[in-house]
Symmetry: none
Subunit: 120 residues, 4 copies
DNA sequence: GTGGTCTAGACCACG
DNA sequence: GTGGTCTAGACCACG
């Protein structure tokens, strides 16, 4: 895995993890790779992986079980979906609106383009 | 200038050039740096710069004068604007719509978020 | 195919290609010869063929499909026609006018010659 | 001098000769290069040069003086002009008309383009 | 000097 | 396989 510089690495790891879930690689209830295992696999510090897992746990994607490791929650998929929605509304969409402002594009044009998109 | 790996270098050069125009660094009628000069400055092959200039020329931002060099066209600024608009509608917007589809987000929600954005 | 020296090879390839379309050898939707195949066939560098295809693509005659090849666009025929018209008005006609100036020939004489041509 | 293959060499020599007159290299009354001299200079047979000189003599550009050689006629310049006009009306113009027919361009469009040309 | 064309050869992503 | 990008280096016409 390659890391870009514009986003913290732990977030990139979490995103990667969630993309794998959406792809169906891991399923709800499955055991997540151990922190140590993953840190070696990705060539990053265990702290970084732990931070990524913390993030995923905070958002209900995985849960820790004492002495055994992390497991995908039942509801992991929908949790990922909710997170994506959140990112979409908090980050992607404002960036788009900003671009609209710069280009002088109004909402009507977007709506019209959307109707075209649905047809095509 | 640093190049990222996710976009061809020649496009990055062209984009940088257009950003400089929008910033007002270069004005309509100005002479662009010569192909060789710029290629040395950026540490890339002359072909790569030429390809960037070709792209800009094709889109009406600069024009070649044989034996003299490239010059910003009269209308360079609006040409850049038109290109940005085109990219927005042909690339950014379809990506947005695709994401909307994946997340099950409708146009009404976008419009609502836009109203919030305008207020905030 | 033989190349003359007064026109760039890539333009001669593009012109040949368009002539073949007008002759009906290739039809809209057909696959164009692959870049490598054609470069070997013509004994030129792949770049030169690519430049010809770039030119044709820029003018809406062919379109690239990633990993598959180039295909004649729907509308390739009319695109070729439009290009020919453009060349006529931007190149042939100004050359004619320049010659008229040198020879002291006016538009009335041209119009008269045209009437004769239509009769003959 | 390089010869192209689409026109007889003697005509190319004659054309070259006339272009030199229009450029002012040779003047009316000047002695033309001897047939032998020119044939060596151009690397062609003396017959070919003679044929070119015949052509030029037929059209009043040069005249033979027994025992001395060929000389530009008084009126050589206007003779060249007349020849150019003839070529223009007999060759260039019909080719243009043919192109107009193929492209579906009418005389009105040419006249309009001409008005634009005179302005620009 | 300037842009423009061409070659030889490498390496990449996509399917 | 397909197109696409990039380099190194040569040579050309124009001014």
């Amino acid at each position: 895995m390659e890391f870009s510089s514009d986003k913290p690495i732990y977030r990139q790891i979490a995103d990667y993890f969630m993309a794998e879930i959406l792809r169906g690689v891991w399923r709800e209830g499955d055991k997540a790779p151990s922190v140590r295992e993953l840190s070696v696999g990705l060539g990053v510090n265990t702290h970084t992986v732990l931070k990524a897992y913390d993030y995923l746990q905070d958002h209900g994607v995985i849960e820790a079980r004492r002495g055994t490791g992390y497991y995908l929650t039942p509801g992991a998929c929908s949790a990922v979906g909710a997170l994506r929605r959140e990112e979409f509304f908090d980050s992607s969409l404002p960036a788009l609106f900003e671009q609209m402002r710069l280009l002088g594009v109004g909402m009507e044009e977007i709506a019209e383009a959307y109707r075209q998109f649905l047809k095509g």
